[in-house]
Amino acid sequence: MTKEVVTISKSNGPVLRISKATLGYDERPLWSNLDLEVAQGEFIAIIGANGSGKTSLLRSILGQEKLNSGKIFLNEKPVSHGSRKIGYIPQSRTLDAHTPLLARDLLTMGLNGHRYGVPFTSRKDKSRVEHILGCIDGHELANLPVGQLSGGQLQRFRVGQAVIDEPDLILADEPLSALDLAQQGILADLIDRERKDHSAAVLFVTHDVNPVLDMVDRVLYLANGQFKIGTPDEVMRSDVLSELYGAQVDVVRNQGRIVILGTHGADHEHHDHEEWK
């Protein structure tokens, strides 16, 4: 029943439209003239080395970073300081042991944490929390203090928190970092399933495309102040990335995984170059 309501409320235009956006500090652009339209339910991986401006892009979409030029629209409206149409999955960071929150409260806050007024959680909201607990297999952990959750457990609740209010767009900022490979796989699958169930688009910042390779529609690769957008097959190629980095880069495919060789050197040169300039 909820799903019908959601499909009706969502318009047909792009969820997110970035138009001629440039961001940089000290005249060095992180990226310039970035154009990107994100369709409903689309999964886009944002890849690049540290300092390539991946997180800054998310911050710009959240209105926390001011573009040098260009515009960003969420549901055809200029972005402001965050939005209830956005679900956000932060990096995995364990929370302080004395944080007065139970795991289930993360979900509740995702649903009504923005609401002013007497802090009562309605029966409808409570049953919504129970529903999401089922989706993320979190019933057993629900009443544990958040400070006692492991990194992987916490991230499961983060995914639930991000989807519980039926967002149009999920922003994920390296949500798999600090997790082991098995957990990365479980969590990537969970994000994929939940975004499909809630027909939300995803911008997924990561330095490794492999955990999400099967679910990615397009890749936005940032490097060297430039970018490439396209399907993984179009972007994750030796010639394309070599051009982007301005140095020889080898993209090797092995058993369905992509390994990029040589970016370290390329990045390093770039760094040295910057420092001397």
């Binding site: 959240l62 926390q64 402001s80 300081h81 965050g82 939005s83 209830r84 956005i86 956000y88 932060p90 929370l95 004395h98 944080t99 007065p100 929150l101 139970l102 409260d105 993360l106 806050m109 995702g110 009504n112 944490g113 923005h114 609401r115 002013y116 007024g117 007497v118 802090p119 203090p145 958040v146 400070g147 928190q161 209010d165 922003l171």
Partner: protein, 284 residues
Amino acid sequence: MIFDFSDYDKLLPLVTNSLIAAALLGLMGGLIGIFVMTRDSSFAVHGISEISFAGAAVALLVGLDVVLGSVIGSAVAAILIGILGTRAKDRNSIIAVLMPFGLGIGILALSLYEGRTSNKFGLLTGQIIAIDSPSLFWLTGISIFVILVLVTIWRPLQFASLDTEVAKARGVATGKLGFGFLLLLGLAVAASVQVVGALLVLSLLVTPAAAALRVTSSPKLAPLLSVSFAMTSAIGGILLALGGGLPVSPYITSVSFFIYLVARVVEVMKKRSAKASVTKGLKA
């Protein structure tokens, strides 16, 4: 004899005002204390209370209402901390810079004041037994206002305090809420200074919440426990002081400290029993 409860029935009616004030302060202090703890603002409480004291002392000197002076002092402190200390790292140093300056002004004003000495001491160490009706009126007004606003902004403030990044992404005005919180804290401090004194405000605005967070992680239970600890300290302190004949502040701070100690013991016992049950589970 430290305690003498023989005239208790005659003394009790004399302190009804004080008991009402204590109950309200406990409610307010216990609630706002939860955010003082989760926003790591204990030092801000201390800083604001010293400057609140300065405001009260100046008011006493120039013949203005003491509560008004203390509210103005608190508000100035809260605004300065809010504007200059937006980053957590800056905040503590800003407070450390402002506090001695405020305290200095307060001491200067008191040394120039030629009225009753008990008034002077009261500002630093509390005067709840001597609380009069106009002060009670102020106190009630301020506490009720703080409690109502705090309950209204509870959810967004909690989101902003405990899960800042996500709250920002969801459009919660974390910066404005933080500033609003400091202003509320300023009012709460100004009210508490009247009763327990500038030096002992922490015992009502921090200790009860700190104790509560030792024994529970439930966001519902924590404020309930914190409020009951704060009320027990404030009311219990007065009732003990009646029999003891000493100033009320040491009783309040002692009760509140004792509760904190018990909370820490309970915490250790809870951890032990949790470990024991894990070991049992492994053996079984």
